[in-house]
Amino acid sequence: MLDGSAFSSNMSFFKPILILSFAFLAVFGEATLSAPRHWLGAQIDLLPALMVYTALNADLVTVSLLAVLGGLWFDSFSANPLGVSILPLFVAGFPIHLRRELILRDLPFAQFVLGAAASAGVPALAILLLLNMGKLPVMGWGSLWQWVVMTAGGAAATPVVFALFEWCGGALGYQQNAEMGFRPDREIRHRKILK
Protein backbone atom coordinates (compact mmCIF):
# COMPACT_ATOMS: atom_id res chain seq x y z
CA MET A 1 0.00 0.00 0.00
CA LEU A 2 1.34 3.36 -0.99
CA ASP A 3 1.04 5.43 2.08
CA GLY A 4 3.82 7.86 2.72
CA SER A 5 2.31 9.69 5.65
CA ALA A 6 2.01 8.97 9.32
CA PHE A 7 -1.47 7.51 8.85
CA SER A 8 -1.63 3.84 9.70
CA SER A 9 -3.20 1.34 7.35
CA ASN A 10 -5.44 0.23 10.24
CA MET A 11 -7.09 3.62 10.20
CA SER A 12 -8.52 3.24 6.70
CA PHE A 13 -11.54 5.43 7.45
CA PHE A 14 -9.66 8.13 9.29
CA LYS A 15 -7.94 9.68 6.30
CA PRO A 16 -10.97 9.81 3.95
CA ILE A 17 -13.07 11.34 6.72
CA LEU A 18 -10.38 13.92 7.45
CA ILE A 19 -10.02 14.78 3.75
CA LEU A 20 -13.78 15.10 3.22
CA SER A 21 -14.16 17.17 6.40
CA PHE A 22 -11.43 19.50 5.17
CA ALA A 23 -13.20 19.78 1.78
CA PHE A 24 -16.49 20.58 3.54
CA LEU A 25 -14.88 23.35 5.60
CA ALA A 26 -12.89 24.62 2.61
CA VAL A 27 -16.06 25.09 0.53
CA PHE A 28 -17.80 26.80 3.46
CA GLY A 29 -14.78 29.07 3.93
CA GLU A 30 -14.69 29.97 0.24
CA ALA A 31 -18.35 30.97 0.39
CA THR A 32 -18.16 32.98 3.61
CA LEU A 33 -14.72 34.62 3.56
CA SER A 34 -14.68 37.47 1.09
CA ALA A 35 -11.24 38.88 2.00
CA PRO A 36 -9.45 37.27 -1.01
CA ARG A 37 -12.03 38.88 -3.30
CA HIS A 38 -11.37 42.30 -1.78
CA TRP A 39 -7.59 42.00 -1.76
CA LEU A 40 -6.90 39.89 -4.85
CA GLY A 41 -10.01 40.33 -6.98
CA ALA A 42 -10.78 36.59 -6.99
CA GLN A 43 -11.67 33.78 -4.62
CA ILE A 44 -9.06 31.03 -4.23
CA ASP A 45 -10.34 27.46 -4.59
CA LEU A 46 -8.74 24.97 -2.19
CA LEU A 47 -10.37 21.86 -3.63
CA PRO A 48 -7.77 21.33 -6.43
CA ALA A 49 -4.93 21.54 -3.87
CA LEU A 50 -6.75 19.03 -1.69
CA MET A 51 -7.31 16.80 -4.71
CA VAL A 52 -3.55 16.76 -5.40
CA TYR A 53 -2.88 15.63 -1.81
CA THR A 54 -5.64 13.02 -2.01
CA ALA A 55 -4.49 11.67 -5.38
CA LEU A 56 -0.95 11.20 -4.05
CA ASN A 57 -1.74 9.89 -0.57
CA ALA A 58 -5.11 8.16 -0.63
CA ASP A 59 -6.87 5.42 -2.58
CA LEU A 60 -9.02 5.82 -5.69
CA VAL A 61 -12.27 5.58 -3.72
CA THR A 62 -11.28 8.65 -1.69
CA VAL A 63 -10.30 10.49 -4.89
CA SER A 64 -13.71 9.68 -6.39
CA LEU A 65 -15.55 10.62 -3.19
CA LEU A 66 -13.72 13.94 -2.97
CA ALA A 67 -14.54 14.72 -6.60
CA VAL A 68 -18.25 13.88 -6.16
CA LEU A 69 -18.86 15.37 -2.71
CA GLY A 70 -16.50 18.34 -3.12
CA GLY A 71 -18.08 19.16 -6.47
CA LEU A 72 -21.59 18.84 -5.05
CA TRP A 73 -20.82 21.07 -2.06
CA PHE A 74 -19.16 23.67 -4.27
CA ASP A 75 -22.05 23.73 -6.75
CA SER A 76 -24.68 23.90 -4.00
CA PHE A 77 -23.42 27.39 -3.04
CA SER A 78 -22.81 28.48 -6.59
CA ALA A 79 -24.97 29.34 -9.57
CA ASN A 80 -23.22 26.45 -11.36
CA PRO A 81 -25.54 23.66 -12.50
CA LEU A 82 -25.28 20.89 -9.90
CA GLY A 83 -22.56 18.42 -10.88
CA VAL A 84 -20.47 20.68 -13.12
CA SER A 85 -17.50 20.75 -10.72
CA ILE A 86 -17.33 16.95 -10.28
CA LEU A 87 -15.64 16.05 -13.56
CA PRO A 88 -12.97 18.80 -13.51
CA LEU A 89 -11.95 17.79 -9.99
CA PHE A 90 -11.77 14.12 -10.94
CA VAL A 91 -9.87 14.89 -14.15
CA ALA A 92 -7.31 16.77 -12.02
CA GLY A 93 -6.90 13.95 -9.50
CA PHE A 94 -7.18 10.77 -11.59
CA PRO A 95 -4.00 11.09 -13.73
CA ILE A 96 -1.97 12.14 -10.68
CA HIS A 97 -3.23 9.07 -8.82
CA LEU A 98 -2.29 6.78 -11.72
CA ARG A 99 1.27 8.19 -11.85
CA ARG A 100 1.76 8.60 -8.11
CA GLU A 101 4.72 6.18 -7.97
CA LEU A 102 6.67 8.42 -10.36
CA ILE A 103 6.00 11.70 -8.53
CA LEU A 104 8.30 13.02 -5.82
CA ARG A 105 5.44 13.80 -3.53
CA ASP A 106 7.55 14.86 -0.55
CA LEU A 107 9.21 17.72 -2.43
CA PRO A 108 7.42 21.04 -1.82
CA PHE A 109 8.34 22.16 -5.35
CA ALA A 110 6.62 19.10 -6.87
CA GLN A 111 3.57 19.80 -4.67
CA PHE A 112 3.62 23.45 -5.80
CA VAL A 113 3.77 22.57 -9.51
CA LEU A 114 1.03 19.94 -9.24
CA GLY A 115 -1.11 22.37 -7.22
CA ALA A 116 -0.63 25.06 -9.87
CA ALA A 117 -1.57 22.67 -12.68
CA ALA A 118 -4.67 21.41 -10.87
CA SER A 119 -5.77 24.91 -9.78
CA ALA A 120 -5.40 26.18 -13.33
CA GLY A 121 -7.07 23.16 -14.92
CA VAL A 122 -10.13 22.79 -12.70
CA PRO A 123 -11.71 26.26 -13.32
CA ALA A 124 -10.77 26.12 -17.02
CA LEU A 125 -12.50 22.75 -17.42
CA ALA A 126 -15.52 23.94 -15.41
CA ILE A 127 -15.94 26.97 -17.67
CA LEU A 128 -15.49 24.79 -20.76
CA LEU A 129 -18.27 22.52 -19.49
CA LEU A 130 -20.50 25.52 -18.74
CA LEU A 131 -19.98 26.95 -22.21
CA ASN A 132 -20.73 23.55 -23.73
CA MET A 133 -23.97 23.46 -21.78
CA GLY A 134 -24.99 26.84 -23.22
CA LYS A 135 -24.47 28.79 -19.97
CA LEU A 136 -22.98 32.28 -20.07
CA PRO A 137 -20.60 32.83 -17.18
CA VAL A 138 -19.37 36.35 -16.44
CA MET A 139 -16.09 36.59 -18.33
CA GLY A 140 -13.72 39.17 -19.77
CA TRP A 141 -10.06 40.15 -19.78
CA GLY A 142 -10.22 40.43 -16.01
CA SER A 143 -11.03 36.72 -15.84
CA LEU A 144 -7.40 36.09 -16.84
CA TRP A 145 -6.28 37.88 -13.69
CA GLN A 146 -8.76 35.82 -11.65
CA TRP A 147 -7.40 32.65 -13.27
CA VAL A 148 -3.81 33.66 -12.42
CA VAL A 149 -4.83 34.38 -8.81
CA MET A 150 -6.61 31.02 -8.54
CA THR A 151 -3.58 29.21 -10.01
CA ALA A 152 -1.04 30.97 -7.80
CA GLY A 153 -3.23 30.71 -4.71
CA GLY A 154 -3.92 27.01 -5.28
CA ALA A 155 -0.21 26.36 -5.94
CA ALA A 156 0.80 28.11 -2.73
CA ALA A 157 -1.90 26.29 -0.78
CA THR A 158 -0.85 22.79 -1.91
CA PRO A 159 2.34 22.45 0.21
CA VAL A 160 0.38 23.94 3.12
CA VAL A 161 -2.30 21.27 2.68
CA PHE A 162 0.39 18.56 2.64
CA ALA A 163 1.99 19.95 5.81
CA LEU A 164 -1.40 20.27 7.50
CA PHE A 165 -2.35 16.67 6.78
CA GLU A 166 1.07 15.42 7.88
CA TRP A 167 0.58 17.29 11.15
CA CYS A 168 -2.98 15.95 11.53
CA GLY A 169 -1.71 12.43 10.84
CA GLY A 170 0.92 12.83 13.52
CA ALA A 171 -1.41 14.44 16.04
CA LEU A 172 -4.53 12.33 15.56
CA GLY A 173 -3.31 9.05 14.02
CA TYR A 174 -1.57 6.10 15.59
CA GLN A 175 2.17 6.50 15.86
CA GLN A 176 4.45 3.66 14.68
CA ASN A 177 6.12 1.89 17.57
CA ALA A 178 9.88 2.29 17.70
CA GLU A 179 11.77 -1.00 17.13
CA MET A 180 13.05 -2.61 20.30
CA GLY A 181 16.77 -3.12 20.75
CA PHE A 182 16.16 -6.58 22.16
CA ARG A 183 16.28 -9.43 19.62
CA PRO A 184 15.50 -12.98 20.89
CA ASP A 185 17.69 -14.61 18.19
CA ARG A 186 20.75 -12.77 19.49
CA GLU A 187 20.19 -13.90 23.09
CA ILE A 188 23.13 -15.87 24.50
CA ARG A 189 21.96 -19.16 25.77
CA HIS A 190 24.04 -19.64 28.90
CA ARG A 191 23.12 -23.24 29.53
CA LYS A 192 24.41 -24.52 26.20
CA ILE A 193 27.67 -22.67 26.63
CA LEU A 194 28.13 -24.08 30.10
CA LYS A 195 27.61 -27.62 28.82
Binding site: F24, L25, V27, F28, E30, A31, T32, S34, R37, H38, G41, A42, Q43, D45, L60, V61, V63, S64, A67, V68, G71, L72, W73, F74, D75, S76, F77, S78, A79, N80, P81, L82, G83, V84, I86, L87, F90, F94, L98, P123, A126, I127, L130, M133, L136, P137, V138, M139, G140, W141, G142, S143, W145, Q146, M150
Partner: protein
Amino acid sequence: MFKQQNYLALGAVVFVAVLLLSLPTRATERLKLAVGSWFLPLFGLAGAAQQLPADLADSVLPRRELLKQIDELRRENQQLKERQVQTVAIAQENDQLRGLLGWQRQSPWKLKLANVVMRDPANWWKTVQIDLGSRDGIQTNQPVLTADGVVGRVSSVSYVSSQVVLIGDPNCRISALVENATHDMGVLWASHPVDAPFETSFARLDHLASSANLKPGQDIFTSGLGGVFPKGIPIGKIADVTTEYGTVTSANVKLNANLGALEQVWVLFK
Protein backbone atom coordinates in the same frame (compact mmCIF):
# COMPACT_ATOMS: atom_id res chain seq x y z
CA MET B 1 -1.44 0.27 -15.60
CA PHE B 2 -5.19 0.63 -16.11
CA LYS B 3 -6.69 -1.82 -13.64
CA GLN B 4 -10.32 -2.79 -13.34
CA GLN B 5 -10.84 -0.61 -10.28
CA ASN B 6 -9.64 2.42 -12.25
CA TYR B 7 -12.26 1.76 -14.91
CA LEU B 8 -14.88 1.33 -12.20
CA ALA B 9 -13.99 4.60 -10.45
CA LEU B 10 -13.86 6.52 -13.74
CA GLY B 11 -17.17 5.04 -14.84
CA ALA B 12 -18.87 5.73 -11.50
CA VAL B 13 -17.78 9.38 -11.33
CA VAL B 14 -18.71 10.06 -14.96
CA PHE B 15 -22.09 8.35 -14.39
CA VAL B 16 -22.86 10.46 -11.29
CA ALA B 17 -21.83 13.69 -13.06
CA VAL B 18 -23.83 12.95 -16.20
CA LEU B 19 -26.84 11.86 -14.13
CA LEU B 20 -26.80 15.08 -12.11
CA LEU B 21 -26.35 17.26 -15.17
CA SER B 22 -29.21 15.59 -17.00
CA LEU B 23 -31.73 15.93 -14.16
CA PRO B 24 -34.68 18.29 -14.71
CA THR B 25 -34.12 21.85 -13.43
CA ARG B 26 -36.65 21.50 -10.63
CA ALA B 27 -35.09 18.29 -9.33
CA THR B 28 -31.61 19.84 -9.54
CA GLU B 29 -32.73 22.89 -7.57
CA ARG B 30 -34.25 20.70 -4.85
CA LEU B 31 -31.13 18.58 -4.68
CA LYS B 32 -29.01 21.72 -4.52
CA LEU B 33 -31.02 23.03 -1.60
CA ALA B 34 -30.78 19.64 0.13
CA VAL B 35 -26.99 19.55 -0.26
CA GLY B 36 -26.74 23.19 0.83
CA SER B 37 -28.70 22.39 4.00
CA TRP B 38 -25.76 20.24 5.20
CA PHE B 39 -24.02 23.50 5.96
CA LEU B 40 -26.79 24.84 8.20
CA PRO B 41 -24.95 24.09 11.49
CA LEU B 42 -21.97 26.06 10.19
CA PHE B 43 -24.23 29.04 9.40
CA GLY B 44 -24.99 29.37 13.11
CA LEU B 45 -21.35 29.05 14.09
CA ALA B 46 -20.25 31.62 11.52
CA GLY B 47 -22.99 34.01 12.67
CA ALA B 48 -21.95 33.66 16.30
CA ALA B 49 -18.29 34.16 15.40
CA GLN B 50 -19.11 37.31 13.44
CA GLN B 51 -21.25 38.66 16.29
CA LEU B 52 -18.60 38.02 18.96
CA PRO B 53 -16.24 40.94 18.12
CA ALA B 54 -19.20 43.32 17.94
CA ASP B 55 -20.47 42.15 21.34
CA LEU B 56 -17.00 42.51 22.81
CA ALA B 57 -16.64 46.01 21.35
CA ASP B 58 -20.03 46.97 22.81
CA SER B 59 -19.08 45.74 26.26
CA VAL B 60 -15.88 47.81 26.40
CA LEU B 61 -17.32 51.02 24.90
CA PRO B 62 -17.04 53.90 27.47
CA ARG B 63 -20.23 55.38 28.93
CA ARG B 64 -19.48 58.85 27.54
CA GLU B 65 -19.29 57.42 24.00
CA LEU B 66 -22.57 55.56 24.47
CA LEU B 67 -24.33 58.71 25.71
CA LYS B 68 -23.00 60.60 22.69
CA GLN B 69 -24.30 57.93 20.35
CA ILE B 70 -27.71 57.96 22.06
CA ASP B 71 -27.87 61.73 21.65
CA GLU B 72 -27.01 61.50 17.95
CA LEU B 73 -29.55 58.72 17.38
CA ARG B 74 -32.28 60.74 19.16
CA ARG B 75 -31.57 63.70 16.91
CA GLU B 76 -31.60 61.48 13.81
CA ASN B 77 -34.82 59.84 14.98
CA GLN B 78 -36.47 63.25 15.38
CA GLN B 79 -35.43 64.25 11.84
CA LEU B 80 -36.74 60.98 10.42
CA LYS B 81 -40.07 61.42 12.21
CA GLU B 82 -40.45 64.90 10.71
CA ARG B 83 -39.56 63.53 7.27
CA GLN B 84 -42.07 60.70 7.71
CA VAL B 85 -44.85 63.19 8.44
CA GLN B 86 -43.95 65.05 5.25
CA THR B 87 -43.79 61.81 3.27
CA VAL B 88 -47.20 60.69 4.49
CA ALA B 89 -48.68 64.05 3.48
CA ILE B 90 -47.06 63.82 0.04
CA ALA B 91 -48.26 60.22 -0.40
CA GLN B 92 -51.84 61.24 0.50
CA GLU B 93 -51.69 64.12 -1.96
CA ASN B 94 -50.28 61.77 -4.61
CA ASP B 95 -53.09 59.28 -4.00
CA GLN B 96 -55.71 62.04 -4.29
CA LEU B 97 -54.22 63.29 -7.56
CA ARG B 98 -53.98 59.74 -8.95
CA GLY B 99 -57.64 59.25 -7.97
CA LEU B 100 -58.64 62.47 -9.76
CA LEU B 101 -56.81 61.31 -12.90
CA GLY B 102 -58.28 57.82 -12.66
CA TRP B 103 -54.87 56.17 -12.22
CA GLN B 104 -54.34 53.04 -10.17
CA ARG B 105 -53.36 53.64 -6.54
CA GLN B 106 -49.76 52.88 -5.71
CA SER B 107 -49.33 50.42 -2.89
CA PRO B 108 -46.47 51.18 -0.47
CA TRP B 109 -43.42 48.94 -0.51
CA LYS B 110 -43.07 46.29 2.16
CA LEU B 111 -39.45 45.53 2.93
CA LYS B 112 -37.77 42.79 4.93
CA LEU B 113 -34.18 43.08 6.12
CA ALA B 114 -31.83 40.19 5.31
CA ASN B 115 -28.20 39.46 6.09
CA VAL B 116 -25.84 38.39 3.30
CA VAL B 117 -24.37 35.17 4.65
CA MET B 118 -22.48 33.75 1.68
CA ARG B 119 -21.08 34.60 -1.72
CA ASP B 120 -20.74 32.46 -4.80
CA PRO B 121 -17.45 30.54 -4.44
CA ALA B 122 -17.09 30.47 -8.24
CA ASN B 123 -15.56 33.64 -9.68
CA TRP B 124 -17.66 33.47 -12.83
CA TRP B 125 -21.07 34.08 -11.23
CA LYS B 126 -22.35 37.02 -9.20
CA THR B 127 -24.70 35.63 -6.59
CA VAL B 128 -25.06 35.84 -2.81
CA GLN B 129 -27.05 33.89 -0.22
CA ILE B 130 -29.30 35.70 2.27
CA ASP B 131 -30.68 34.41 5.56
CA LEU B 132 -34.37 34.68 4.61
CA GLY B 133 -36.18 31.76 3.03
CA SER B 134 -39.63 30.40 2.31
CA ARG B 135 -40.45 30.37 6.05
CA ASP B 136 -40.15 34.20 5.89
CA GLY B 137 -42.41 34.39 2.85
CA ILE B 138 -39.64 34.86 0.28
CA GLN B 139 -40.43 33.84 -3.29
CA THR B 140 -38.37 33.76 -6.46
CA ASN B 141 -38.03 36.96 -8.51
CA GLN B 142 -38.53 39.31 -5.57
CA PRO B 143 -36.43 42.48 -5.97
CA VAL B 144 -33.51 42.94 -3.59
CA LEU B 145 -32.16 46.39 -2.78
CA THR B 146 -30.10 48.45 -0.39
CA ALA B 147 -30.64 52.02 0.78
CA ASP B 148 -28.55 53.10 -2.24
CA GLY B 149 -30.46 51.22 -4.89
CA VAL B 150 -31.37 47.93 -6.48
CA VAL B 151 -28.83 45.06 -6.26
CA GLY B 152 -30.59 42.06 -7.83
CA ARG B 153 -33.42 39.58 -7.53
CA VAL B 154 -34.13 36.35 -5.65
CA SER B 155 -33.30 33.43 -7.93
CA SER B 156 -33.98 30.39 -5.72
CA VAL B 157 -35.48 29.87 -2.28
CA SER B 158 -34.96 27.22 0.38
CA TYR B 159 -36.65 27.00 3.77
CA VAL B 160 -34.12 29.18 5.63
CA SER B 161 -32.07 30.91 2.94
CA SER B 162 -32.32 32.25 -0.60
CA GLN B 163 -29.97 32.86 -3.48
CA VAL B 164 -29.88 36.38 -4.90
CA VAL B 165 -28.54 36.93 -8.39
CA LEU B 166 -26.84 40.34 -8.52
CA ILE B 167 -26.76 42.99 -11.23
CA GLY B 168 -23.88 42.13 -13.53
CA ASP B 169 -24.72 38.44 -13.68
CA PRO B 170 -26.14 37.33 -17.04
CA ASN B 171 -29.16 35.89 -15.21
CA CYS B 172 -30.23 39.29 -13.85
CA ARG B 173 -31.67 41.64 -16.45
CA ILE B 174 -33.32 44.91 -15.50
CA SER B 175 -35.32 47.22 -17.70
CA ALA B 176 -33.88 50.66 -16.95
CA LEU B 177 -35.03 54.22 -17.54
CA VAL B 178 -32.58 57.09 -17.97
CA GLU B 179 -33.51 60.36 -16.30
CA ASN B 180 -33.09 62.70 -19.25
CA ALA B 181 -35.34 64.73 -21.51
CA THR B 182 -36.05 61.80 -23.85
CA HIS B 183 -36.51 59.23 -21.03
CA ASP B 184 -34.37 56.67 -22.87
CA MET B 185 -34.85 53.05 -21.95
CA GLY B 186 -32.48 50.14 -22.09
CA VAL B 187 -31.72 46.80 -20.54
CA LEU B 188 -29.10 46.37 -17.84
CA TRP B 189 -27.85 42.87 -18.51
CA ALA B 190 -25.02 40.50 -19.37
CA SER B 191 -22.81 42.77 -17.38
CA HIS B 192 -19.76 44.78 -17.77
CA PRO B 193 -17.21 42.14 -18.74
CA VAL B 194 -14.79 41.38 -15.94
CA ASP B 195 -12.16 43.78 -17.28
CA ALA B 196 -11.40 45.08 -13.81
CA PRO B 197 -11.82 42.27 -11.26
CA PHE B 198 -11.51 44.67 -8.32
CA GLU B 199 -14.32 46.89 -9.59
CA THR B 200 -17.64 45.25 -8.80
CA SER B 201 -19.93 48.24 -9.09
CA PHE B 202 -20.27 48.58 -12.85
CA ALA B 203 -22.84 47.13 -15.25
CA ARG B 204 -23.63 47.65 -18.91
CA LEU B 205 -26.76 49.27 -20.33
CA ASP B 206 -27.63 47.82 -23.74
CA HIS B 207 -30.57 47.64 -26.17
CA LEU B 208 -30.84 51.41 -26.39
CA ALA B 209 -32.78 53.24 -29.06
CA SER B 210 -30.69 54.67 -31.90
CA SER B 211 -31.85 58.16 -30.93
CA ALA B 212 -30.74 57.76 -27.31
CA ASN B 213 -29.24 60.90 -25.85
CA LEU B 214 -27.09 59.62 -23.01
CA LYS B 215 -24.49 61.62 -21.14
CA PRO B 216 -22.23 60.72 -18.24
CA GLY B 217 -23.75 61.60 -14.86
CA GLN B 218 -27.38 60.94 -15.81
CA ASP B 219 -29.32 58.92 -13.23
CA ILE B 220 -30.83 55.53 -14.02
CA PHE B 221 -33.93 54.03 -12.42
CA THR B 222 -35.92 50.84 -12.89
CA SER B 223 -38.56 51.33 -15.58
CA GLY B 224 -41.16 49.00 -14.08
CA LEU B 225 -41.32 46.93 -17.27
CA GLY B 226 -40.72 43.21 -17.04
CA GLY B 227 -42.86 42.66 -13.97
CA VAL B 228 -40.05 42.01 -11.48
CA PHE B 229 -38.80 45.43 -10.39
CA PRO B 230 -41.27 48.22 -9.55
CA LYS B 231 -40.79 51.55 -11.26
CA GLY B 232 -38.52 54.21 -9.82
CA ILE B 233 -35.90 52.31 -7.81
CA PRO B 234 -32.53 53.99 -8.29
CA ILE B 235 -29.87 51.87 -10.02
CA GLY B 236 -26.91 54.13 -10.69
CA LYS B 237 -25.39 56.79 -12.92
CA ILE B 238 -24.06 56.63 -16.45
CA ALA B 239 -20.25 56.54 -16.30
CA ASP B 240 -19.38 56.55 -20.00
CA VAL B 241 -21.07 55.99 -23.31
CA THR B 242 -19.99 53.81 -26.23
CA THR B 243 -20.82 55.17 -29.68
CA GLU B 244 -20.48 53.57 -33.09
CA TYR B 245 -20.85 55.67 -36.25
CA GLY B 246 -22.23 58.52 -34.12
CA THR B 247 -24.97 56.40 -32.51
CA VAL B 248 -25.00 55.43 -28.87
CA THR B 249 -24.93 51.64 -28.62
CA SER B 250 -24.30 51.01 -24.95
CA ALA B 251 -23.29 52.70 -21.71
CA ASN B 252 -21.33 51.77 -18.63
CA VAL B 253 -23.34 52.31 -15.49
CA LYS B 254 -21.76 52.99 -12.09
CA LEU B 255 -24.11 51.28 -9.67
CA ASN B 256 -25.22 53.15 -6.55
CA ALA B 257 -24.92 50.02 -4.40
CA ASN B 258 -21.48 48.57 -3.72
CA LEU B 259 -22.01 44.93 -4.69
CA GLY B 260 -18.60 43.91 -3.37
CA ALA B 261 -19.39 44.93 0.19
CA LEU B 262 -22.98 43.83 0.68
CA GLU B 263 -23.76 42.92 4.29
CA GLN B 264 -27.44 43.68 4.67
CA VAL B 265 -30.09 43.99 1.97
CA TRP B 266 -33.82 44.60 1.78
CA VAL B 267 -36.14 42.15 0.07
CA LEU B 268 -39.09 43.93 -1.48
CA PHE B 269 -42.60 42.47 -1.12
CA LYS B 270 -45.17 43.75 -3.60
